[in-house]
């Protein structure tokens, strides 16, 4: 028995836990189950009782009808008159639910019948009591009919101690239809079920409402606890003073404390982020005014102030100039953009270098208070922006809300940051101005070097007019071109944006164009094919590399295509990817007549080729390869040189 009880408990608890998670659902399940069970039991019991009552009523009715029938049947059976019997049977048929009736004589031979008698032969036992057979559609009853006579002759004269003689005169058989009984039973069942269903529904609804009302505090508390899991700490209304109410009150107290701490942490985090953002803005590049405007924007946005302004102090003019303003006034529409010395809270703070702030406007002078009231201002903060007691500006804040102490502290920190930021920005402006000045000077130097080289080149050109020896003229011209190639380097440098790198594509284009012009070569006769990537060299690499291009291109123009031969010159400069970022290869080739096989570049006395050898191996510390299979092809591998400090 105990095992069975435990099993039922386990199953019940298992179902409850598995499918009904809340207390309300469990209570509802148990209560509604109980109501349904009670309703079923009550309905079945009611049906049984009413069925029993109905049977009793039917039995009473049958008894009455049988009694009536036996009384009415006495005379017809005594008379044996068919008409009388028919009349009597007809009267019995008028009784509700009587479907047939018949008279039988003492020997149970049928005398008369009416209605739909199932079997004319009466199967009932010959009993002195009423017998009945319960059929499918009828209750078949058969009752003996008696007549009462005086038992003794003397009985007709004497009343006392008489013996009346009951003499059976026949039988009467009556069939009661079950149709109305079945109809009544069906109606009874339907009504019972309907009442049970209505009762169950109404009870279920009431239980639901009661359960909902009873478990509402628990449900609210449960929902609040779930919210805690999601990081929210709501408060639940306390509707009673019971244990649940006490628990709810304690929960509310806990939620309040956590919320306050969380709000504090959030505020601190916001203020920390605010200070950090201001600091980040101040360390960014850009003009001072834009930076300070960004700062006031952040102050208005993150501290939720009505007006934030930053003034810089002009010591020479003893005046503050408005550098940034956000909130109700922008920088452009600010009614005041310059503050000279005067009698105001602002100047008092500036002179004392002591911040003034508060969640009240009482600290302001009368005019300022009127303005503050007009704008709905309830708190203000004025911070002097100073570096080591040197005033650089003022931070001015007005708000329509009360400030926390932490906010004032953060604004104090921010004011220091802004002061430092202003100081740094001013220093940066100074450095930038100095850099510009130096850049201008450097460009001027490169320009002057280029001009000097141009002068030298012009002098050499001028010298050629006084020389008749063509070889000497050629030497001068080559020197002139070498100077031009170096001059072109300086020109490209002072024209470049950063003064340190020369765009070599642009440089070789210019150089090649100049050489083609100098040697009067038509590009339709000798085509120049350049394949130069986006490569820039510093001046230490650019000058030897430029001289190499100058020498090799000059060599091709002068010697590769004699007698007006046509051809092509290819110049390729590219990075050698497998070898690394700083390794390059310069390939200058032509499909001209080529260099004789017995020509040794390392032993030649040609200045140009010696220069090529020297520049490659000594200046660029590269390698020179010569390919003579199809014209001439110089392949120079080198590493870009790093700038070396010379001072």
């Amino acid at each position: 028995m105990e095992f069975l009880a435990n099993g039922i408990n386990k199953i019940f608890n298992g179902i409850l836990s598995r499918y009904f998670s809340t207390m309300r659902q469990k209570i509802l399940l148990v209560a509604v189950s109980g109501v349904v069970l009670a309703s079923i039991v009550y309905t079945l019991e009611s049906l049984r009782s009413e069925h029993e009552i109905m049977n009793q009523e039917i039995n009473k009715k049958v008894e009455v009808v049988i009694k009536l029938a036996t009384n009415l049947g006495e005379l017809p059976l005594l008379s044996k008159n068919p008409e009388v019997m028919k009349k009597t049977l007809a009267s019995l048929m008028n009784v509700a639910d009587v479907s047939y009736a018949a008279f039988y004589d003492y020997d149970m031979d049928l005398l008369e019948k009416t209605g739909d008698t199932p079997r004319p032969v009466c199967d009932h036992p010959r009993s002195l009591e009423t017998s009945f057979m319960d059929g499918e559609d009828h209750i078949d009853l058969c009752a003996p009919v008696f007549t009462v006579r005086a038992g003794e002759d003397i009985d007709m004269f004497r009343e006392d101690d008489t013996k009346e003689k009951r003499e059976q005169v026949g039988w009467i058989r009556i069939g009661f239809s079950k149709a109305s009984l079945k109809k009544a039973q069906h109606s009874l069942i339907f009504r019972g079920i309907l009442i049970a269903v209505i009762f169950t529904l109404v009870s279920g609804l009431l239980i639901y409402k009661l359960t909902a009302a009873a478990t509402k505090p628990l449900t609210l508390l449960s929902g609040a606890v779930k919210s805690v899991r999601n990081g929210k700490y709501p408060e639940v209304s306390v509707s009673s003073g019971d244990e649940v109410g006490i628990l709810t009150s304690e929960f509310n107290r806990m939620s309040r404390a956590i919320n306050e701490r969380e709000d504090m942490l959030i505020t601190r985090a916001k203020l920390s982020a605010f200070v950090s953002d201001i600091g980040f803005v101040l360390t960014e590049g850009g003009p001072l005014q834009a930076t300070l405007q960004h700062c006031t924007d952040i102050i208005v946005t993150q501290i939720d102030t009505a007006l934030a302004r930053i003034w810089t102090f002009n010591k020479e003019e003893n005046a503050f100039e408005l550098m940034a303003s956000s909130g109700i006034y922008g920088l452009a529409d600010s009614p005041v953009s310059r503050l000279s010395a005067g009698d105001s809270t602002f100047w008092t703070v500036a002179q004392k270098l002591q911040p003034q702030f508060g969640n009240s406007i009482e600290g302001l002078n009368a005019g300022e208070r009127e303005w503050a009231r007009d704008k709905g201002i309830v708190s203000f903060a004025l911070y002097p922006l100073a570096i080591e007691s040197r005033l650089v500006g003022m931070l001015e804040i007005f708000s329509g809300k009360q400030f926390l102490e932490e906010t004032f502290n953060s604004l104090d920190t921010v004011s220091d940051e802004i002061a430092i930021g202003i100081q740094r920005k001013l220093a940066e402006q100074h450095i930038e101005a100095s850099l510009v000045e130096k850049e201008v000077l450097l460009r001027e130097i490169h320009h002057r070097v280029k001009n000097n080289m141009q002068v030298i080149s012009s002098l050499l050109n001028f010298q050629t007019r006084y020389v008749n020896d063509k070889q000497f003229i050629g030497i001068l011209n080559e020197s002139q071109n070498r100077i031009k190639s170096m001059s072109l380097i300086h020109e490209k440098l002072y024209r470049s944006s950063d003064l340190s790198n020369i765009d070599f594509n642009d440089y070789i284009n210019s150089l090649a164009s100049d050489l083609f012009k100098f040697y009067g070569v038509d590009s339709s006769r000798i085509a120049l094919n350049l394949d130069i990537g986006k490569i820039a060299f510093e001046i230490d690499t650019a000058i030897p590399c430029g001289l190499l291009v100058n020498e090799l291109l000059t060599n091709s123009l002068k010697h590769a295509f004699p007698d007006g031969r046509k051809g092509e010159i290819d110049i390729t400069l590219r990075k050698k990817e497998p070898d690394g970022a700083d390794n390059y290869e310069l390939i200058i080739s032509d499909n001209g007549v080529g260099i004789p096989e017995d020509f040794d570049i390392s032993k030649t006395r040609s200045l140009g080729l010696q220069l090529i050898h020297t520049l490659t191996e000594h200046q660029l510390q590269g390698r020179l390869d010569l390919d003579r299979t199809n014209g001439t092809r110089f392949h120079i591998s080198f590493r870009a040189l790093r700038y070396k400090k010379r001072i």
Binding site: S79, V148, R149, A150, E152, D153, M156, F157, D161
Partner: protein, 311 residues
């Protein structure tokens, strides 16, 4: 025994004691001698009757008191099959049959044995001789003369009777002012009663067992009150339940009447020639409410002479 006989004689035959002391003395002596000569178990009169029934036991007591001879009482069931041998064994000179069963059994006796009956309604329908007795049915003539005398407004009296017994119960000479209806069973009785509507002023019930079932009687009373036609007869029992009046036999007088009859038979040694007779005296019972309900005026003197007035 002697004193017992004397006491009876003193009670019932006061005339004898008062007028003929000698005759009384001789008779006493003769009886004493005869009693002494008889065997101890013998009885001159054998009474057959169910002494369990009160009317029977009362009548037996009355008869025994009235008789100066020995008698013995037997139940009908005890003598049903051997009545004759019992009669001879007892040496009975006469058989007194009380009630229908007893009469039926007694009719089987040889005619040599006289039979005196009582407590049956009408004279038995038998061809057997040597039989006499007192039946209980009040003659129709008694009722008719009583009605004529005291209820002159009742001109026509309806009577329902079995055609078989009509001549016995209601002989033709008694049918003046009477209208007869035939019926053989209670249903026909009721039908006959229903058919009396407007034809009669009163319904006289005759003690016909075959006709008067309980239902038939109830129907008759319903008809009576509905049609304001009073039912008359049969006995106090019927008056009590709605009959206007009845003339029933007087039990005490009937005891004497039967006692005398027995003595007469014993004296003559036979019942032949002694007529069967109705009761000689009657007792009047009246129901005043029925009279009121049916609109019948009851003469005041009847109230005085009535044995009992209901309610």
């Amino acid at each position: 025994m002697l004193s017992y006989v004397i006491r009876i004689l003193l009670r019932h035959e006061g005339i004898v004691l008062r007028h003929n002391y000698k005759y009384f003395f001789l008779s006493t002596v003769l009886i004493a001698v005869s009693l002494y000569a008889c065997p101890a178990e013998s009885a001159e009169v054998l009474i057959i009757g169910d002494s369990q029934l009160k009317p029977v036991s009362e009548l037996i007591a009355g008869i025994e008191d009235a008789l100066s001879v020995t008698s013995t009482v037997k139940a009908p069931a005890d003598v049903k099959d051997n009545l004759e041998s019992i009669v001879y064994r007892e040496g009975a000179k006469a058989v007194v049959a009380l009630g229908q069963d007893a009469v039926n059994i007694s009719l089987s006796l040889p005619e040599s044995i006289p039979v005196i009956y009582a407590l049956i309604i009408n004279p038995p329908d038998t061809a057997r001789g040597n039989i006499t007795g007192v039946y209980m049915a009040t003659p129709v003539s008694e009722y008719m003369s009583f009605i004529n005398k005291y209820f002159p407004d009742i001109k026509r009296v309806g009577i329902v009777c079995d055609p078989v017994t009509r001549s016995v119960i209601c002989p033709a000479e008694h049918r003046a002012n009477a209208k007869l209806y035939d019926a053989t069973n209670p249903y026909e009785f009721i039908s006959a009663v229903s058919g009396m509507r407007g034809d009669v002023d009163a319904l006289l019930l005759l003690p016909e067992k075959n006709l008067l079932s309980q239902t038939a009687i109830e129907k008759a009373f319903i008809f009576s009150f509905r049609e304001k036609i009073p039912v008359i007869g049969i006995s106090e029992k019927y008056v009590k339940t709605g009959s206007l009046f009845s003339l029933g036999f007087n039990p005490e007088h009937m005891e004497r009447q039967i006692g005398n009859l027995i003595i007469k038979v014993l004296n003559r040694g036979s019942a032949s020639g002694i007529p069967q007779s109705p009761p000689e005296r009657f007792t009047l019972y009246i129901n005043r409410k029925t009279a009121e309900a049916t609109g019948i005026r009851v003469p005041p003197e009847l109230i005085n002479i009535a044995e009992r007035v209901y309610p």
